[in-house]
């Protein structure tokens, strides 16, 4: 092969084809997808995250939770996502309309979190778990996020949101562990995660 220009043309066209096929056409096909009204509740779906939850979303991004947690439920009959209780239906494009970036994930060292807000609604559980996963889940390989908490001397009276730690996790006498705003935001985000509305393109149970 001696013809540089011909070679270059081929090189150009091959990548152009997949760029158009895998990014531009999808953008045209479902990049303009809109929210939909859910009949029973009369509310739009999905809703944007806001306030504490949207700050928590940034913490989820900054601290790389995606390297161990996916946010996508595979359909019934492919894997056991629904049987494990990770969702009541498969995930579809519409679930992610507001997500920048989308946290689809490719790894499940930990469970899928698409519906963690529905599956585990307890703020206290999440705070203890983030402070040290061994408290709630012995043997977990999830890292502790103690840097989202503050250890401080108990003042005139103990603060109301101090973690209740016992046994091997107990704090030294006179001290307490208090979640920072960051920890509370992250939990608010986790609690906001639920994709359980039945959609036309994704009825429950499938």
């Amino acid at each position: 092969m001696k013809y540089g220009p011909l070679l270059f043309l081929g090189i150009f066209l091959t990548l152009a084809s997949s760029w158009v096929g895998l990014t531009v056409i999808p953008q045209m096909q479902f990049g303009g997808l809109q929210t939909t009204k859910i009949e029973e509740t009369g509310r739009d779906y999905p809703l944007n995250t806001w306030g504490a939850a949207s700050k928590g979303r940034e913490l989820y991004r900054a601290n790389g939770c995606i390297y161990c947690h996916s946010q996508q439920v595979r359909p019934q009959g492919f894997g056991a996502d629904i049987e494990r209780g990770w969702g009541t239906r498969r995930s579809v494009s519409r679930d992610y309309l507001y997500d920048k970036p989308v946290f689809l994930g490719t790894m499940r060292t930990g469970p899928d979190l698409t519906n963690i807000g529905q599956r585990q609604p307890s703020v206290d559980w999440h705070l203890s778990h983030l402070y040290d996963p061994q408290i709630t889940s012995k043997g977990s390989t999830m890292p502790p996020y103690r840097f989202l908490f503050e250890q401080r001397k108990i003042g005139a009276k103990p603060s109301p949101d101090a973690l209740k730690l016992t046994g091997e996790f107990a704090t030294p006498p006179g001290y307490e562990i208090v979640p920072t705003e960051n920890a509370k935001d992250l939990v608010a985000y986790l609690l906001s995660l639920r994709a359980d509305a039945a959609l036309l393109e994704a009825p429950l149970g499938k």
């Binding site: 092969m1 001696k2 540089g4 070679l7 270059f8 081929g10 090189i11 150009f12 091959t14 990548l15 084809s17 997949s18 096929g21 895998l22 990014t23 999808p26 953008q27 096909q29 479902f30 990049g31 989820y60 900054a62 601290n63 790389g64 939770c65 995606i66 390297y67 161990c68 996916s70 996508q72 595979r74 492919f78 894997g79 056991a80 494990r84 995930s91 579809v92 494009s93 519409r94 679930d95 992610y96 309309l97 997500d99 920048k100 970036p101 989308v102 490719t106 790894m107 499940r108 060292t109 930990g110 469970p111 996963p133 889940s137 977990s140 390989t141 999830m142 890292p143 502790p144 840097f147």
Partner: protein, 501 residues
């Protein structure tokens, strides 16, 4: 062999600088001299990042089974160290060394000295500033959490500009080549040098700077991430294999026809394969089907290239003993065959159902980026560095240690972790097994990986020592590196081919 006459078939099959006439030797010396500063500078920086990336890798691996280790400082939390490791290796080490190898090959094959070496050294400094900014950004909490593209937008700009300033000179070297005839390595190099900036800028535009909506991001993400491997590292790795195997053993590549078929089928199919990373995910079925089909079609270029490389080697395996370059390159070429066929199989839905979301994928990725690409780059550096530094490698023993620790290390990494991944996937798909069991059962494999990592760290360290040593040595008049018969073999071969043509 002169560039005016039309190339014979023999010439079309062989890297074109096998000739020992005095003029040719002078030209090669001139080319090497012009590449010396920029290419050695890239290699040196690449090795610094290799060492940093290795430290981050060990830390990541260790944390995966001992999560309490260094957990209390946000900068070193698992979810930041892991992408910091990946980005150091991909942009700091692998890409930088790849560009160095590409420049040298472009000049050698086109028989032109490299222009603007000084400017390129400047651009390389800029590139390394970009990588540093990006890695610090990730550790500080600015990661985008978009796989393979974690560096924050401000670092991406720096990298893109630096890349453009470097690559343009490699392309100019191609454009003004004196040898008009093209060797297969040049097709791959030209393609890679052009594909990478397109992939990188399009993905940054559509994901970081002005993100597209919803799951379209997923499509763009995997179009990009898969192609960084397929259209950037793979072609440069293959270009090096196509150059060094015939070069070192002194025998033309097996088949010109297969080279062409392999190149164009790779260009056509690799492209489209990326969305298989989202099988079962919230994507339109057609998009996933297209990628599964393309992944299957990849068997064509892989088998073609495999036949071409391995058939060229047949009958010459004893030369592996003498040439470190050949040893690393052939290890890489074999890994390429294995990892690519494995990759195609992972797009089969029934297998994907098990291996997706598990450590199996991580093992596969390392088989590709490390056992194939990195080993090929090591091999290339063993050949190129002595010619640029005009010195021999000071220690053959260190080379041998480097080979065995990395070769055994990566096997000890990939094989057990793949087994662990399959067990993890099978357990995950059985809803009667509590989730924590899937965590528990992978632990021994994760610990094994840390040991593999320690082996590879030893390898990288001795390589770095040898590299610093060769540069620090007193320069002697240029002699082909004697301890390694490869050089002798290749000279002999050169003489033979010179007579042939």
């Amino acid at each position: 062999m002169n560039s005016q006459s039309s190339p014979s078939l023999r010439q079309a099959l062989t890297p074109s600088d096998n000739d020992s006439s005095p003029e040719r030797k002078a030209l090669l010396a001139e080319i090497d001299a012009s590449c010396r500063r920029p290419v050695l500078f890239m290699f040196a920086n690449g090795l610094l990042w290799l060492m940093a990336g290795t430290a981050l890798a060990l830390l990541t691996s260790y944390k995966m089974h001992s999560p309490n280790f260094l957990a209390d400082w946000s900068w070193l939390t698992f979810g930041r160290v892991r992408p910091a490791h990946l980005n150091t290796m991909v942009y700091g080490f692998a890409s930088q060394v790849a560009i160095g190898v590409a420049i040298w090959l472009m000049c050698r094959l086109g028989r032109v000295p490299f222009m603007q070496g000084g400017l390129v050294v400047g651009a390389t400094i800029f590139w390394n500033i970009g990588v540093t900014v990006g890695i610090v950004g990730i550790l500080a909490g600015d990661s985008t959490s978009i796989e393979w593209l974690e560096m924050p937008g401000y670092a991406a700009y720096i990298l893109f500009i630096a890349y453009a300033l470097i690559a343009i000179w490699a392309i100019i070297a191609f454009r003004f080549r004196r040898e008009r005839h093209l060797y297969v390595s040049q097709w791959y190099l030209l393609a890679a040098l052009f594909w990478f900036p397109w992939l990188y800028s399009a993905a940054n535009m559509m994901l970081v700077i002005d993100p597209v909506r919803g799951t379209v991001q997923g499509a763009v993400n995997w179009w990009f991430a898969h192609n960084v491997l397929g259209l950037w590292f793979t072609p440069i790795g293959l270009a090096a294999i196509y150059y060094f195997i015939p070069k070192v053993i002194g025998r033309p590549i097996h088949s010109y026809f297969l080279s062409t078929l392999g190149f164009w089928s790779l260009a056509l199919f690799y492209n489209w394969a990326g969305i298989h990373h989202l099988i079962g995910g919230p994507m339109p079925a057609w998009l996933i089907t297209v990628s599964v089909v393309a992944s299957m079609m990849m068997i064509i270029p892989v088998v073609t290239v495999a036949i071409n490389h391995h058939m060229t080697m047949v009958g010459h395996f004893k030369k592996l003993k003498y040439s470190p370059t050949l040893r690393f390159i052939v290890f890489g070429a074999m890994s390429y065959t294995v990892v690519s066929l494995q990759g195609s199989s992972m797009a089969i839905r029934s297998l994907n159902e098990v291996t997706h979301f598990t450590h199996y994928t991580i093992a596969h990725a390392h088989l590709g980026v490390y056992a194939f690409f990195t080993m090929v780059m090591f091999g290339s550096m063993y050949y190129i560095v002595p010619r640029l530094a005009l010195r021999e490698w000071p220690s053959a023993r260190l080379i041998s240690i480097h080979f065995w620790t990395t070769a055994l290390g990566i096997l000890l990494y990939v094989v057990p972790l793949s087994v662990g991944g399959v067990l993890q996937g099978l357990a995950m798909n059985n809803p009667d097994i509590p989730f924590l069991k899937t965590v528990e059962l992978t632990k021994p494999y994760l610990v094994t990986r840390t040991f593999a990592g320690i082996l590879m760290t030893v390898g990288h360290t001795v390589f770095a020592v040898n590299f610093v040593w060769i540069l620090a040595r007193r320069r002697k008049a240029y002699q082909p590196p004697v301890p390694f018969i490869a050089a002798g073999l290749q000279q002999e071969a050169g003489a033979q081919l010179g007579k042939d043509i």
